[in-house]
């Protein structure tokens, strides 16, 4: 479903990605783990075409995203839903308008009643009721904003959902419910997910496969168990610090 091949990207002198290659099969959840500044978000933004690579390719559902521009790129993005690190809800829109936005844009002839029903259904998946429909993003807690962002990402039935640090800054209970939501989205809607995170516990809960990104390169890649047994010194240290804490 998603193929990233030999991806290189620099910003000025700084090489952020140095030959990243990975493959995500349809209907699976792939987690990219890494410390802050390791290039995770830059990698994710290449997948959705927000950045252009210096070298290498990104293919999603058979389309080479990295070579598209303008209208073609905009249309190719219809397969995506994305949850941003800070939720990125439109602050001039209510919760209803936020969640309805991608649906209204994708299905421009949808009736008002259908639109409302789909928005309410999508909010129900993330355990939010109709009482939040008229709220403004600024009135919601961080956890609720993230849930609304997830509902917005899922409402138009995307084939691929990208999550940028979905559990960062959340309390353990909300983190657990976000993990459940990612798993439910995969099980109920067969979506392919790519999760960028430095939350190791969360990564091991949701990943079918995972990769550890270090200094712009993939240090280890495989099933959670394979990565856990990796001989790479950085991966060992990255994971052992957390496993020791447990």
């Amino acid at each position: 479903m998603i193929r990233v091949h030999d991806l290189w990207k620099s910003f000025g002198e700084k090489e952020v990605l140095r030959g990243v290659t990975l493959e995500i099969p349809e209907g699976t959840t792939f987690v990219v783990l890494g410390a802050s500044g390791s290039g995770k978000t830059v990698l994710l933004k290449h997948v959705i075409g927000l950045f252009k690579p210096d070298r290498g390719t990104v293919q999603v559902d058979g389309t080479e995203i990295s070579s598209l521009t303008g209208r073609a790129l905009t249309e190719a993005r219809q397969v995506f839903g994305m949850v941003f690190q800070g939720a990125a809800l439109f602050d001039s829109m209510t919760v209803f308008e936020n969640v309805a936005f991608p649906l209204k844009e994708k299905e421009r002839r949808i009736s008002g009643a259908d639109l409302r029903a789909r928005v309410v259904e999508s909010l129900r998946v993330v355990d939010l009721g109709e009482d939040v429909l008229g709220s403004w993003p600024s009135q919601l807690s961080g956890g609720m904003r993230k849930r609304v962002a997830l509902a917005r990402a899922l409402v138009a039935n995307p084939k691929v959902v990208l999550y940028d640090e979905p559990t960062t800054g959340l309390d353990p209970i909300t983190t657990d419910s976000v993990d459940s939501m990612i798993n439910q989205a995969k099980e109920r809607r067969r979506v392919t997910s790519m999760v960028i995170s430095h939350d190791i516990a969360s990564a091991f809960r949701v990943a079918d496969r995972l990769a550890v990104l270090y200094d712009g390169r993939i240090a280890a890649q495989g099933t959670p168990e394979e990565v856990r047994r990796s001989d790479d010194p950085y991966v060992k240290r990255f994971l052992s610090l957390w496993f020791e804490k447990q």
């Binding site: 190719a76 995506f80 839903g81 994305m82």
Partner: protein
């Protein structure tokens, strides 16, 4: 020192080039479906209706000052009767479009840059792109079209209140008889003057809104970056208004 100067000059040209490409992209998205008239109306209300009061007040005082200055200058030649024509022609050809554009820059241009800049640094624009919606089409096109359409209308408001202010000061304070005041207005101002001024207003509307949206779109670096972009938008818009005004006037009357 020399290298720094060349680098800065190059950055200015690159910035200008990016602005021109942005304008081209906006034009391309403006003629592509889907069209969103509701967003255009919303922006027309925000930019046009929202600026009416401030434009009207500025126009009133500009007209009053023009009448006082005109009377002061023309009295020396015994030509007070021409003050009406002087006020009208100054407003219609020059002050109306320029002052209106400067007021819209201060009020709406800065608001546009701040809003879009905040959306940029909080990833709301990236979010929109990720939903297969062009932010240029959704956010920029309605603002640019609304400003381009509303600027001439606001200029008409400025001219009307300005002439009214000039008439009040000219006839009640400077005691110029109303007859010559109005007659010389009719004889000195023709349709060409009106179209010249309104053409300027249309171009100013496009220029100001393109600069404001571009600065918002390219904002980076959090709240401070948004503030810097807003300052840059207001400064460059004001400079652009005066430069374009000179060029258009030169082309018109050489």
């Amino acid at each position: 020192m020399h290298v720094v100067g060349v680098g800065r000059l190059r950055a200015v040209f690159e910035d200008f080039g990016a602005q021109v490409l942005f304008a081209g992209e906006t034009l391309a998205w403006a003629v592509r479906p889907p069209f969103r008239p509701e967003l255009l109306l919303h922006q027309a209300a925000a930019i046009g209706v929202g600026s009416t009061f401030i434009v009207a007040v500025t126009g009133l005082f500009a007209g009053m000052v023009l009448a006082l200055q005109g009377n002061y200058a023309m009295r020396q030649f015994g030509a007070e009767g021409y003050v009406g024509g002087f006020v009208a022609i100054s407003l219609v050809r020059e002050l109306g479009p320029v002052f209106t554009a400067l007021m819209v820059t201060g009020r709406s241009g800065s608001a546009i840059t701040t809003e879009l800049g905040t959306m940029r640094v909080t990833e709301q624009i990236d979010a929109m792109e990720s939903m297969a919606v062009s932010p240029i089409q959704y956010l920029v096109v309605p603002r640019v079209l609304a400003a381009t359409l509303m600027m001439p209308l606001l200029t008409v408001v400025f001219n009307a209140t300005g002439y009214m202010g000039g008439y009040l000061i000219g006839t009640f304070v400077s005691l110029i008889p109303p007859g010559p005041f109005l007659d010389h207005t009719k004889s000195m101002v023709d349709v060409h003057d009106m179209t010249h001024g309104l053409s300027k207003a249309i171009i100013f509307g496009a220029v100001v809104s393109l600069i404001a949206t571009f600065r918002g779109f390219t904002a980076s670096g959090g709240a401070r970056g948004v503030g810097e972009s807003t300052t840059r938008a207001v400064v460059w818009s004001s400079v652009a208004i005066l430069v374009v005004d000179y060029l258009l006037t030169f082309i018109s009357i050489g």
